[in-house]
Symmetry: C2
């Protein structure tokens, strides 16, 4: 529809997740025309990012160094490992400021439909970390989806024989939610996981 | 929230129109991690696009050459000029396949609130083009907004004394629209612009 390179730019932008043809077109015109925008910063970042970013050798989180800033921080509690699916889950948990332990990023979930088995996940280093006797608790923080739950059960069955405490994030009503609109499974979980009022 | 370069990437992506922090984060992780994606193509495009793309010397449309493919096409009807606000409007009209004339891109609309007067628009070359006696009709295709209508009136008052026919795109009900849900101004325009049934 457009001349050569503009269409190529629109097509490339359209490969981003959540960006449809209209958004891609809007961004392309912004890149080409906006007086206050300089595309060279992003160009430089995109050109080098794959060489700059590595997986942390300890936990599998994304980092610019050999080890991520959390694993290399001596003030964190290295006896508790929180297992998450993806690097962005680490950021989500860090935002809560509730957790001062360390992480382990699986890099996915067990999903036989997509051909992902336990061997495709970052599990070898997790087992190695658990071999170290300083670890006392593993918190399973995979998503509350079918695949996340299945992965969580698999890990719990794998870790419990090692003699480490295994916990799972609480499932229940989200804060601010209306009981009336909660789905049955969530409400059921909220009941079964009820706690004493302090 | 993230380590150095990932946060920089998220911030840069967040400068795009319509991309909030969550989308920027999602795209950043896609860029860093997706096995099937190679960010170097987009990096190359962004690094060179501002040098590659120029404004057409005739109409102000975006092009890789001195003159855009429409202005340099001898099969187009060069006696009719369709005046639009932005280069993307040219693409929108081209998609209709209803128009075989040429264009003129204003590069904006008259908007005193934002300090845009007629002198900031691409009007000098339009007047020069109208001086050429081959032009017989100017179609005003600015948006149907307050600023677009004001710009259209301004242009019509400027062009009519030259002795060129000036027309405005029809205003009325969009195809497929329900009369019941049309706003009063649109419905009023549809009435005042009614046509004989052929």
């Amino acid at each position: 529809m457009y001349e050569g390179v503009i269409q190529t730019l629109i097509d490339e932008l359209g490969r981003f997740p959540g960006i449809g043809p209209k958004s891609a077109q809007r961004i392309a015109f912004f890149v080409v025309q906006d007086a206050k925008y300089d595309p060279s910063t992003l160009a430089g970042l995109l050109a080098t990012i794959r060489e700059t970013i590595h997986y942390c050798i300890t936990c599998g989180n994304l980092t610019e160094n050999e080890q991520c800033s959390i694993c290399s921080d001596p003030r964190r509690d290295h006896s508790t490992i929180c297992v998450v699916e993806e690097a962005k889950d680490v950021a989500a948990i860090e935002r809560t400021r509730e957790y001062d332990g360390v992480y382990h990023v699986l890099g996915g979930v067990i999903n036989p439909m997509n051909g992902v088995g336990p061997e495709q996940l970052n599990l070898k280093t997790l087992i190695k970390r658990l071999g170290d006797e300083t670890v006392t608790e593993v918190i399973l923080a995979t998503n509350s989806t079918v695949e996340g739950e299945a992965t969580s059960s698999y890990l719990s069955r794998m870790i419990q024989p090692i003699g480490v405490t295994v916990t799972r994030l609480a499932s229940g009503l989200p804060v601010g939610a209306d009981l009336e609109y909660a789905d049955e499974i969530t409400l059921g979980r909220a009941f079964s996981g009820r706690r004493n009022v302090e």
